[in-house]
């Protein structure tokens, strides 16, 4: 799959003559609207949901609570869907959640080699790299190489487990809590949790205690 041309397109593309997929999608939307099959306002609502309401900040709150509250962490590892639903995060592409805990001797990495399965209610829609051929091809055969390229060198004595999302289970990595965060509030903790750490391709560190 070719990479996106990030600079070439933006929301003002409708001010210019359309070409390629932009033109075909616009034609399809008018056809489906004309036939009464879709309501453009429902399309706006769908876009708004995943642009502004659902995203990796949800997952970060789950991770922060698991770090701060041992009883919550136990519930999360035992029945992830129910524990995540305590925040009101559930639904499409997150109906059956599994949480994978990273430890000093274990690194979990999530991929979908066949398409783009991803836990929407906690992470939002997947980034382009997650859906791209290089990641889908290499995560299963060379996870250490991919992690190194993305900035994490995994020591030889640490185990790597790759989870290929081939069914309807959706995986969220619970990253190791970084040193130097003792006594932080859940809010402070959530602020340092990144999307990539919850996919399993990044580690979390803090340079200095935040006060």
């Amino acid at each position: 799959m070719s990479n996106h041309d990030h600079a070439a397109e933006d929301d003002h593309e409708h001010d210019r003559p359309l070409s390629g997929p932009a033109l075909r999608v616009k034609a399809l939307e008018s056809l489906l609207t004309e036939k009464g099959l879709v309501d453009p306002k429902a399309l706006d609502a769908l876009i708004d949901t995943y642009e502004t309401k659902v995203g990796p900040r949800n997952g970060a709150r789950v991770v922060a609570r698991a770090w701060a509250d041992p009883a919550y962490k136990e519930r999360l590892l035992a029945d992830a869907s129910a524990a995540i639903a305590e925040f009101g995060f559930f639904g499409r592409q997150g109906e059956d959640m599994v949480v994978l805990e990273n430890t000093p001797v274990l690194r979990n990495v999530v991929v979908c080699t066949l398409c783009s399965c991803y836990p929407w209610p906690v992470l939002g829609l997947p980034p382009v790299w997650y859906k791209s051929a290089p990641y889908r091809a290499r995560a299963v055969i060379d996870p250490r190489g991919v992690l190194k390229e993305l900035g994490t060198e995994v020591p030889d004595d640490v185990e790597v487990r790759v989870w290929d999302s081939t069914a309807e289970l959706r995986y969220l990595v619970l990253p190791a809590r970084p040193a130097g965060t003792e006594g932080w509030s859940e809010e402070q903790l959530a602020a340092i949790v990144t999307r990539d750490a919850m996919i399993g391709v990044a580690e979390l560190t803090v340079s200095a205690p935040e006060q």
Binding site: M1, S2, N3, H4, H6, E9, D11, E13, H14, P21, A22, K26, L28, S30, L31, L32, E34, K35, G36, L37, V38, D39, A42, L43, A45, L46, I47, T49, Y50, E51, A85, F90, G91, R92, E95, D96, T113, L114, S116, L125, P127, V128, S132, P134, A137, V140, I141, V146, L150, D156, D157, E159, V160, R161, W163, D164, T166, A167, E168, L169
Partner: protein, 218 residues
Amino acid sequence: MNGAHDLGGMHGFGPVEVEEDEPVFHSLWEKRMFALTLASGFHGKWNIDMSRYAREQMPPAEYLATTYYEHWLFGLQKLLVEQELVTAKELQTGHAEAKESAVRAVPASEVDALLRKRRAARLDENVPPRFRAGEQVVARNINPTGHTRLPRYARDRRGVIERDHGVFIFADTHAMSRDKKPQHCYSVRFTARELWGTDASARDSVFVDLWDDHLDRA
């Protein structure tokens, strides 16, 4: 099907490129394509496994040369015509031949509830599991021209049942004939060396979610 979508283990695609501060969508048409796919799916004329199968049928050279939401466009157009919500001629001309349709567009007010359904693929049916956690299995060597969620790299490989997730819709038949064929779905652990040979790390493994019909006792 042994299509271009089944990418696990391939070489030559280059490095994984992460975009800093990536937006959710990169253009207006991607937003509309995403929403058109979900809104059209709300009619219930197809299921998610049929959606995946539709995208997989994009010719391999085209699949690899196009972006993600172009796959979605291909898949949606195919489903709309196959399920007779639009005609091939309407797609071609962009104009409706007949306006009346038996289905009603989902209004914006119903979107949130539809996105927040708690059950999708898990079933309550009481089907006994064929395998138990810890049991040695071998993934079947199947090469169907239809849909399957058993990736090529795991076929004919030996693994161990890590966890029984319970009873789920079987994607392979659900995509082809809407047959849910309820059965257990498991995380199956394959060592990296079983999959990729002795050059792979002795510590590492790949977990693949597979159903009863993908597995035999090893």
